[in-house]
């Protein structure tokens, strides 16, 4: 009789312990995904703030390249709106048009030589690679989270949580823009 009770108590303790540890682990990974998104968000915001400076600088030397300025400001306006996926896609598009804008500088030696332009260019490139790294970290965090909640025993404790989506960039934005001179 006592043996039965002890066995039962042991099972209860193990189940509770499993539940607590898996619940916490799922929560930790969930938080990590959110923290990873916050990193991307910060960089998108920085980029949003920085782009007008670059456009103004280039305008000072090449004011007639109207079409490309419009494309830049259109992609920029979508940077802070919509779903995570669409914001990252807008960012990839912005990278492409900015690549073309920066390539313009080749035709304007004075612009290319300006210290301000060089600094802006370095900052934009820095943000671009930071966004790429932040996306890499985000996707890794999502992978860890998805693995945990879809495999046993994590799946038993996931409480109907759904898999999170990876942040993919559209195919057409994946290749760096080709610049011809």
């Amino acid at each position: 009789m006592n043996g039965w009770l002890l066995g039962l108590a042991a099972v209860v303790v193990v189940v509770v312990w499993l539940f607590v540890s898996y619940y916490n682990r799922i929560r930790v990974l969930e938080n990590r995904v959110e923290e990873a998104w916050a990193q991307i968000d910060v960089q998108l915001q920085k980029r949003y703030d920085l782009v007008p400076n670059l456009v103004e600088t280039v305008k000072g030397y090449a004011s007639h390249e109207r079409e490309i300025f419009e494309k830049v400001s259109e992609a920029r306006s979508r940077l802070l709106e919509g779903s995570r996926q669409s914001r990252v896609a807008a960012d990839a598009e912005l990278s492409q048009v900015l690549g073309r804008l920066l390539a313009l500088a080749e035709a304007y030696p004075e612009l290319k030589a300006s210290e301000n332009f060089k600094l802006l260019q370095e900052q934009l490139e820095g943000i671009e690679s930071k966004i790429a790294y932040a996306r890499q970290y985000y996707n890794q965090a999502v992978l860890d989270y998805n693995n945990l909640i879809t495999t046993i025993p994590g799946a038993w404790f996931a409480g109907g949580r759904k898999k999170k989506e990876f942040l993919e960039i559209p195919d057409e934005a994946r290749t760096a823009p080709r610049v011809e001179f």
């Binding site: 990590r32 990873a36 370095e122 820095g126 943000i127 790294y133």
Partner: protein, 299 residues
């Protein structure tokens, strides 16, 4: 892999650091006691609490300020100004990729190509690169090197390696000191007065004095080889481009003369041995550079 693969290393390094602090604490305590006994047997009773206090203070100080001691010893300056924007961006990007806060960034004036990281945990970490490295490496190579240092930080290698650096230095000072005090103490007093306990303490002190620097040196060599390979592998994972680091290491092998003239006690912190040409592998705290390049090329 990725984010999670750091965890085993972190746990191992936390355990190793704690162990190191305890072992060194005990050894230091024993050393202070034997020195005081040699000097004057009656002083032992006063020295017990004093030694405990000194030991605790010293280990705590090293844990808290080891990174600053090393940075100032290396004459590292904070990287400030627009010419370093590029370096800051690279460091910040890779810190984001590894999921740690951005470390502080320092520059060491030297024509050699080298870099190191230090600090007690990822929240209080610093990365330093030489000016020669900044000048000679392209962006992908620099990313490889910075990723290697970021891996050391995320793994908590730096915590352990910084402790080893300061404590190896201590072993040298202490063994010097104890041998000297034995010499003077022995000549001043008649040894028979001290009895058996005194003799044991003297022997222990002597053994410690000789063995401690050797042991710390061996620990330093053994741990840093394994850590270097691991940090290379994590760096490749962070940048997704192992060739960047491989190219950087090749440049170091070709250009470095091993004449940074830094103390042996900190040499294991560097990505490439600062005191020897990378082609000279004997007694090195680093795995042969060709072996590291080969492993990276195969990834």
């Amino acid at each position: 892999m990725g984010v999670r693969s750091f965890h085993d290393e972190q746990a191992r390094n936390k355990r190793d650091s704690l162990l190191l602090l305890i072992v060194v604490g005990v050894v230091l305590f024993a050393l202070i006691l034997s020195i005081s006994y040699l000097w004057d047997p009656a002083s032992v009773y006063i020295m017990v609490p004093l030694a405990a206090l000194i030991t605790a203070g010293y280990t705590w100080g090293n844990y808290m300020f080891g990174d600053r001691i090393i940075l100032s010893y290396m004459k590292a300056r904070p990287a400030e100004g627009p010419q370093f924007t590029y370096l800051h961006n690279t460091v910040e990007g890779l810190a984001i990729a590894a999921g740690i806060p951005k470390p502080k960034v320092y520059v060491v004036p030297s024509e050699e190509l080298n870099a190191f990281a230090t600090g007690r945990d990822p929240e209080h970490a610093s990365i330093a690169v030489t000016t020669g490295l900044l000048r000679r490496l392209d962006r992908l190579e620099l990313e490889g090197v910075v990723a290697h240092e970021i891996s050391h930080i995320a793994n908590r290698d730096v915590q352990f390696m910084t402790l080893v650096a300061v404590l190896v230095g201590l072993a040298g000072i202490l063994s010097n000191w104890i041998l000297r005090s034995y010499w003077w103490g022995g000549s001043r007093r008649d040894r028979d007065e001290r009895g058996n306990l005194g003799l044991i303490l003297v022997v222990v002190g002597m053994v410690l004095a000789v063995v401690a620097p050797l042991v710390t040196r061996l620990v330093q060599m053994a741990v840093s080889r394994r850590r270097e390979f691991l940090a290379d592998a994590y760096a490749a994972e962070l940048t997704r481009y192992p060739d960047g680091l491989a190219d950087a290491l090749e440049k170091m092998a070709a250009l470095n003369r091993g004449n940074m003239k830094v103390s042996e006690t900190v040499s294991h912190l560097f990505i490439s041995d600062p005191n020897r040409s990378p082609l000279d592998a004997l007694f090195s705290t680093h795995p042969p550079i060709e072996e590291r390049i080969k492993r990276l090329r195969e990834m």
